[in-house]
Symmetry: C2
Subunit: 86 residues, 2 copies
């Protein structure tokens, strides 16, 4: 349980750090969002908004913690998450 | 605040009801997931898994509550969410 709590903290920190990276160029009306579902242990980073008339909706990172393991469900960033999580 | 709490309950119920609809045909290794971020008031329904060798990752519904309003950020289902939410 102690280890899983540590995983949660690491995953949250990692995703939060990626928000700052991605929202560097914020000229458009695109919001970078974090979704942390503590109950289900699901953690996500996405962008949502408008680029002119075009709707933008992209999930960059999705990480689950299940069975005391970290599952990288999705990673569309250039960051090597597995490496970062070590 | 009372109204926002009511919104939260309605949104959670709506998304939960859609899980049951979508996971009717569960022959493949695809999991239908709910992400409820109560802290940030962000609510999502997605599917993630494998269809044979092909990775599947689709966000069907994403609803935010902000400024005491319900924002339908994404809806890839055939359900008229605005109508359901009334």
């Amino acid at each position: 349980m102690e280890r899983v709590n540590s995983y949660r903290q690491i995953v949250r920190q990692l995703l939060t750090s990626q928000v700052n990276v991605d929202s560097g160029n914020s000229e458009s009306e695109i919001e970078c969002q974090l979704l942390f579902d503590s109950e289900r242990d699901r953690y996500q980073l996405l962008e949502v908004g408008w680029e002119g008339l075009k709707r933008v909706y992209n999930c960059f990172i999705h990480i689950d913690i299940k069975d005391s393991k970290i599952w990288i469900q999705r990673n569309m960033t250039e960051t090597d998450l597995a490496q970062e999580l070590v």
